[in-house]
Amino acid sequence: MLNTGDILETIKMIQEENLDIRTITMGISLLDCIDGDANRACGKVYEKMMRKAENLVKTGEEIEKQYGIPIINKRISVTPIAMVSAASGDPVKYAKTLQKVAEGTGVNYIGGYSALVHKGFSAGDKELIESIPEALAETANVCSSVNIGSTKAGINMDAVALMGNIIRQASEKTKDDHCFGAAKIVVFCNAPEDNPFMAGAFHGVGEYDCEINVGVSGPGVVRAALAKHPDANISEIADVIKKTAFKITRMGQLVGTEASKRLGVPFGIVDLSLAPTPAVGDSVAHILEEIGLESCGAHGTTACLAMLNDAVKKGGVMASSHVGGLSGAFIPVSEDAGMIDAVNRGSLSLEKLEAMTAVCSVGLDMIVIPGDTPADTISAIIADEAAIGMVNSKTTAVRVIPAIGMKEGETLEFGGLFGSGPVMPVSKFSSSKFISRGGRIPAPLQSLKN
């Protein structure tokens, strides 16, 4: 017989500590849909995606019922559209097709309106990138990402310069809709090809034709577990986090294998991330504060986050047969009640967040910046963040939202899982000359590391 304590613990995790499966994401390759005629290609894209993902939402709901675990999102990621649309041009048509698929299947987001340009632009890349603001303004459920750097290729500074502009335009085009366009673009360095989380999900070319990737969550569970050990030292705290991450990830592994079995597609990976939501008690900042910081952003935050991130991976790796994606702690601002409070009380700045991204799983995420921030300053933020990823051989990303018409001290409301973001100040000094130089930052040395 199962242990009653274990049963009640699981129920408490789900009921009170917001334990959930954050997303089941089906990755679908669109390489076999490429056609010189955009209409014909979009027809093939629609047909393939509808066929593969027809039962995705229904299956997710059935698994939710069977195991009693909430599965918050059902999503799709696709081959970077720049590769698919290169032959025909007219990438916006593909975005509209993805939107139609989102409506037809009932998934809440489709990721992959993307281009991989870490060394240079190939056919179709520039056209797609330039179309991102229009594509995101004309669709509701399509997400975009661009990989502008990697440890092996260096940083494509021409793409960095371009993306500053694209983010501004995406925000301006959606200024009547909370500048939401910019919240659907992620600029990556070392983008993972099997990430199930939005807005950065896309389906890499080395993946299966179709696969299931699962993203777990659970900051509330980790915080609650730590609260039971108020006097433990940091070694013991790391062990508590590992044990908790193990349990959370096992649940993700179970759901992932079950979904892949029911849908008849291979199981890809579990992304063992601590993904916060604006809900009370579901915050990564609160975990850091539980460890012993008065407010997230205080000195010691980077050290706590490094330990947390590492312990989550150590616990999770053993619990899953395949780990991938972003895996680690997410530190978005607008989606985390504790981070929002920390910004409002003046303890958390953009500079501190940048330092934190050197040791966490992603990067500067869901950060609202003043509406008059120049495009080249946004590009420079991207360059800094990409440099951290490039040198440390890790994924970093930037998702900043210039709040058009707003300035420091105001708050941009998104609602739902996206929360609300206080406008955070950026440096007033210009980076314009640096960004206008273009070119490439050469790939860094992988030895002589100091």
Binding site: D6, L8, E9, T10, I11, Q66
Partner: protein
């Protein structure tokens, strides 16, 4: 296939009878029951065999949850694999 029925709430007369009654009605065999009272809170876990269910598993689970609501209790019906995978290596 086995599922766990967990019942949590204020202790009243007839909880076990009601839950096992629904199980019997739909041919779910009760394999094990443990119950404890923690302070004023009643917590019962029941392991049931559901291979021979006469109705769909999801309808059966909904019926138990609804019966729980009527008695002011929280009832969770979850496949046993979730507990095995989370708490056993």
């Amino acid at each position: 296939m086995r599922a766990v029925v967990a019942v949590i709430g204020k202790d009243t007369v007839g909880i076990l009878a009601k839950v096992s009654g629904i199980c019997a009605e739909h041919k779910a065999n009760v394999m094990d029951v443990t119950q404890t009272i923690m302070q004023d809170l009643f917590a019962m876990t029941m392991l049931i065999e559901i291979s021979g269910l006469t109705i769909d598993y999801i309808d059966f689970a909904d019926k138990l949850v609804k019966a729980g609501n009527e008695m002011g209790l929280q009832i969770h019906v979850m496949h046993e694999d979730i507990f095995n995978s989370m708490h056993k290596i």
